[in-house]
């Protein structure tokens, strides 16, 4: 499935134009890095795709399903296909790692059993497999807030994996992590991209990381799409265009 975005615009109630007429097509299996200054509209962009933020105008298509036109029930079916990973991990701190991972399955299970925290055996074994995959099986029964930041983000990934998604939206997944841990997390995203063929849209702060992991980079500036190309196309001129005149290139190992 292809992700197609047409003239996507978001104006917040206070008048802030966070996204202005962004059009884009992302073929299946691409790893796309979204870069731009703080406030450029990166988070808004990702959130408009699964409608955590309701776009003001424009359309989003996932394959041949229109996300923007979906009613609430259809929207939930679409969201199941889109995993999301957050800068602040957004785990439920007081719940166990296992419960956090299982919650990724909520879109698939009937409401009543899920309210009693009951899951099917295959969901449970899936959860264990995904925890194993991110290397945290032995932490399954710990409270989520007893884990380090990097471990919490891996739980976040396991939660997204539970959805068996076709598309991953990652909103600065490594911005709260040290460089070494950041690589562990991004390596996992890369594996999901290369091995499982998931399309990945990932907001990143550092160009070096975009270079290392992404097939394609798009640059946002004040809500507008100002760059769309491969990582090596970003030379100093392009860099200044995206990040502004005063910016100097900061590299991260």
């Amino acid at each position: 499935m292809t992700l197609r975005i047409e003239h996507l615009t978001k104006v917040y109630p206070d008048g802030t134009v966070a996204l202005a007429d962004v059009s884009l097509e992302v073929p299946k299996g691409q790893f796309v890095a979204v870069i731009g200054l703080s406030g450029a509209g990166k988070s808004t962009f990702l959130r408009c795709i699964n409608r955590l933020v309701e776009p003001t105008s424009g359309r989003v298509w996932l394959g041949d399903v229109e996300v923007t036109g979906a009613d609430p029930a259809q929207l939930r079916l679409i969201r199941r296909r889109i995993g999301m990973i957050f800068q602040q991990f957004n785990l439920v701190k007081r719940c166990s790692v296992m419960t956090n991972v299982l919650s990724g399955r909520l879109g698939y299970v009937p409401t009543l059993p899920s309210l009693l925290y009951r899951f099917r055996p295959e969901d449970l074994s899936d959860a264990r497999a995904n925890l194993e995959r991110v290397g945290l099986l032995e932490k399954a029964h710990q409270r989520a807030d007893t884990l380090s930041g990097g471990q919490q983000q891996r739980v976040g990934i396991a939660r997204a994996l539970m959805q068996k998604p076709e598309l991953i939206l990652a909103d600065e997944p490594v911005a709260s992590l040290d460089p070494a841990t950041a690589h562990v997390v991004l390596d996992e995203l890369e594996r999901m991209n290369k091995q499982d063929g998931m399309t990945i849209l990932c907001n990143l702060h550092f160009l070096s990381l975009a270079r290392r992991y992404a097939d394609r980079v798009i640059g946002l500036k004040a809500g507008r799409l100002v760059f769309d190309g491969t990582p090596d196309e970003i030379d100093d001129a392009r860099f200044k265009e995206i990040y502004g005149e005063e910016a100097i290139r900061v590299e991260v190992a």
């Binding site: 995993g83 785990l91 439920v92 909520l106």
Partner: protein, 447 residues
Amino acid sequence: MSRSGLHSAFIAGVLAILPGFGHFYCREWQRGLVLLLGVPAQAAILYGVGLMWLVIPVGLVWVWSIWDAVCLARGGKCSAVVVCLLLLGVNLAAAWQVTQVHVPKLEPEQRNVIRQILLGLAKPDVAERKTQEQTAVGKYLVPGVGAPSSLTPVKRAPGEPTLKVSPTRARKGERLTVVGSGFAPNAPAEIILLGADEVVVAETKTDSRGRLSASFANPRYIPGVYYVQARISATVRGWQLSDTLKDAAPRMIETVYLALIGTALSVLVALPMSFLGARNLMSGTAVLRGVYILVRTVFTILRSVEVLIFAVIAVAAVGIGPFAGVLALAIHGIGAVGKLYSEAIESIEHGPIEAIRATGANDIQVVAYAVVPQVVPQFIAFTLYRWDINVRMATVIGLVGGGGIGYQLIQYMNLLQWRQAATAIWLIAGVVMIMDYASAVIRERIG
């Protein structure tokens, strides 16, 4: 820009004779409005409570306001601190008068009551010495037709006290003497003539060696054998709960349970409502926002009406008794815990909600997985806190007929049983302190 060019001090002063108008003239709208409404209102209040002499200082305020208007017209502005202090003083004086604050002159009777309560508090009636009853029986004969000619000796086990009646024969009105031994020493004793119409014929005490003696005139005239019993009640080793405590303790338990069920009922209603009263969950559409406002209004109304007022209404509706108290606590509690719950929900992290919603979960699942786990500890803490308050409230509710220890207390007081009342007060204080401590400990644990 100097105001003197724009405003004449004279006009301002003249206008200010009507409080506020001088200020309006100088465009000092806020102070003008306060004066316009405040000065007459203050005067009216003092008139209303019949303290006309206090209007004089208010007159000073009026004078000050004219002066202030003149200053304003000249471009200055007077400080209102002195005036505010003056008004505070006036109102304190008025309040003193209205509430009849005075050094109480106590009548001897009132002094006695206070003394009794203080004595009771110093020496509450919680336990008393255990007592043991001892009895011994002797007999005598009223001779005549149908009576046996002689008496068989009374059987008794060794070590038990004995009682001897002499003489062994007596007609009505003749004096009989009873002598007993083997009783507990220094204990009050009753001499009882047994039979269908049992009578106490004499009262006495045992001596230091456990002996007693007494005499009485024989009241019986029908021939036959009569049994005389000596009954003593001796204090023995050990203590037992006092009758007061046996009366009051179940009432105290009733109060704690009353608070428990009152709290439980309010939680039952407030719990689902609180989600509808949380702004962060209800901001989606206009309908949701309307529900949110409605729920919070209900909470505010229920919370701002005092429990005692609900209690008085409930007593009128369902009669005196613990159920009236339960209703009062439950209704007021809905507002109180509901507001706390809603605020707890409003203060949760939004991130997890977003994350769960992004998985395709529906609204109910979002609440169950992202909201509930975040608020449970606070909900428990607030509920315990409410129970704690409710135990205190429940005792007061009892005073207006809501059952429990409070009702018992007011009954003791109506019967002038001051020592019992003091005991009940101790009981309340003890239980409240324990609850207070226990709920603090639990809240800390789950925090």
